[in-house]
């Protein structure tokens, strides 16, 4: 039996290992900042104050929230459409033959091209951003969900089917729990992508948001500001990932745990 103190040591050891790379990175940066000009490599102290400044000043924080909102809106939109497309593709060969290559083609188009198209096609800034966010996230979501549907256990599917469930019950009892792990993974992966696309999307004329603020910092040649705004996005992604992890731990508690790691 491990005593409370050894458990505590083990936990603090884990935390130390988890944060170690960031500490090393920060140290290297900080040391560099002593020798290099401030406007190239600002001190982390400055970055820290700029970050707290953004977090505590409502007009600035609203900008960060706007970006988070755009990411979520785009992802939810892409997810809903992606689920619908995946179900259609799973059921119909023709739809699969048509949509598969189309989505693949879309995947090859750079985000910046969509920005240009969005500016030409749409008037409202938010409409443009939503369009860009959805269209860039949609292919991945669709393929991931389609893969999950195709990967469902045929044995379990037939077993459930043999009870003659209604469509809704089939979905609730069998399909959703089967594909949930893949859905959560898809959200994790696409979140990283979406957070990188959103700053580009905000170049369509947004007057707020991390992308807009970054552009301001570039014009002011303010490296500390650029870093602080970047951190806002990174923090948002990390927090959301943490929430998804929490859902995973809760939803998959039924899984067997191996005592030995891979």
């Amino acid at each position: 039996m491990a005593s409370a103190s050894t458990v505590a040591t083990r936990i603090s050891k884990r935390v130390a290992i988890a944060v170690a790379p960031f500490i090393v990175l920060a140290l290297v940066w900080q040391i560099a900042s002593f020798g290099l000009p401030r406007y190239l490599v600002p001190s982390l102290v400055d970055v820290f104050w700029r970050t707290t400044d953004i977090l505590t000043d409502w007009t600035q924080f609203r900008s960060a929230l706007a970006t988070a909102g755009r990411i979520m809106a785009g992802m939810i939109g892409a997810f809903v459409i992606g689920v619908a497309l995946a179900f259609v593709m799973e059921r119909s060969r023709a739809a699969d033959k048509f949509l598969g290559p189309t989505l693949n083609f879309f995947q090859g188009i750079p985000a910046l091209s969509w920005v240009v198209f969005a500016i030409i096609w749409f008037k409202g800034v938010e409409t443009r951003i939503l369009f860009i966010m959805i269209i860039t996230t949609l292919p991945a979501f669709t393929f991931q969900i389609l893969g999950a549907l195709r990967g469902m256990s045929k044995d379990l599917l037939e077993m459930t089917l043999s009870f003659r469930p209604s469509r809704w019950k089939m979905f609730k009892v069998m399909i959703l729990p089967s594909i949930l792990p893949d859905i959560l993974t898809a959200w994790r992966v696409n979140l990283g992508n979406a957070s990188r696309v959103v700053v580009v999307a905000e170049l369509v004329g947004a007057t707020g948001g991390v992308g807009y603020e970054l552009l301001q910092q570039q014009q002011l040649f303010d490296m500390a500001g650029a870093l602080a705004w970047t951190l806002q996005l990174v923090i948002f992604v990390l927090v959301t990932q943490k929430i998804i992890s929490g859902i995973e731990t809760w939803a998959f508690k039924y899984r067997a745990q191996s005592e030995r790691a891979l």
Binding site: T160, S162, F163, R164, S166, V173, Y254
Partner: protein, 260 residues
């Protein structure tokens, strides 16, 4: 539909196979495809306990899936309770219960939640579901394991849960596809006895598919032996009690047919 079973009183036909063939592959007419079931004709009566015996790959599961309405015959007619189980799939809700070769428990549900599955499909109220599921789990010796997830149960326990799941809906027709073949001999033996008793107690019609002669003789009151591709090679009703000599004779007969 009422028919007369050869040599005894009138009984209801529960499962009716009429010149049924099943061909897998592109050519549906049997030209290039693979013939798994070949011109099979068979009637199974209400209350019968039929063991269907055949070597692996002879088309037993295919026949089973056609009764269950999961596959459609290529030619011929399959009727269950006078209806087509494939095209009238939903009509059979609550009428057929199945025990598969592997337990097929939903890994994200606890033992008791797995047993409740069929009752959920029948829209029974939650409290009633729980009570029925609990009763079946207890009957199968799984009291205390209600809230265990399948991964925490042994193979034998999992198969018991799947038997409980099949019995819980109280369907009159029970289909089993080699349910004990993945278990060790001692566990399988015990489950076979419990299973036979439950079927008799609850007055079910049971179709029991197996590749083991001993299992067929232990469980079936009627034994149907299939050739490959599936068509009938032997169809025998067994007396209530079989003397050791009679059993040996029957075993030898079946063995000869199977080794042809």
């Amino acid at each position: 539909m009422t028919m007369t079973e050869p040599g005894s009183e009138a009984r209801t036909v529960e499962i009716h196979f009429e010149n049924v063939s099943k061909v897998f592959g592109r050519d549906e007419d049997g030209g290039g495809g693979f013939r798994a079931v070949d011109d099979l004709t068979l009637d199974i009566y209400a209350g019968e306990m039929v063991a269907i015996l055949g070597k692996t790959g002879c088309g037993k599961s295919t026949m089973f899936n056609m009764i269950a309405g999961l596959q459609e015959p290529t030619t011929g007619r399959v009727e269950v309770k006078g209806r087509d189980p494939f095209s009238q799939f939903d009509w059979f809700r609550g009428q057929i219960a199945i025990v598969f070769q592997n337990d097929r428990l939903l890994p994200w549900r606890t033992a008791i939640e797995n047993v409740e599955l069929g009752l959920e499909m029948l829209d029974r109220p939650p409290a009633e579901r729980r009570e029925i599921a609990q009763r079946w789990l207890t009957k199968l010796g799984l009291a205390g394991h209600e809230n265990d997830y399948p991964h925490a149960l042994s193979g034998g326990m999992r198969q018991r849960v799947s038997i409980a799941r099949a019995f819980a809906t109280d369907a009159s027709l029970l289909l089993c596809d080699e349910p004990f073949s993945a278990l060790d001999e001692i566990t399988a033996n015990r489950l076979r006895d419990e299973f036979s008793a439950l079927v008799r107690e609850n007055g079910k019609t049971a179709v029991f598919i197996t590749h083991s002669i001993n299992e067929a003789l232990q469980i079936g009151r009627r034994v149907v032996v299939l050739r490959r591709p599936a068509r009938i090679a032997l169809d025998e009703r067994l007396p209530e009690t079989l003397s050791r000599d009679e059993q040996d004779a029957m075993r030898a007969r079946i063995q000869t047919i199977l080794s042809e």
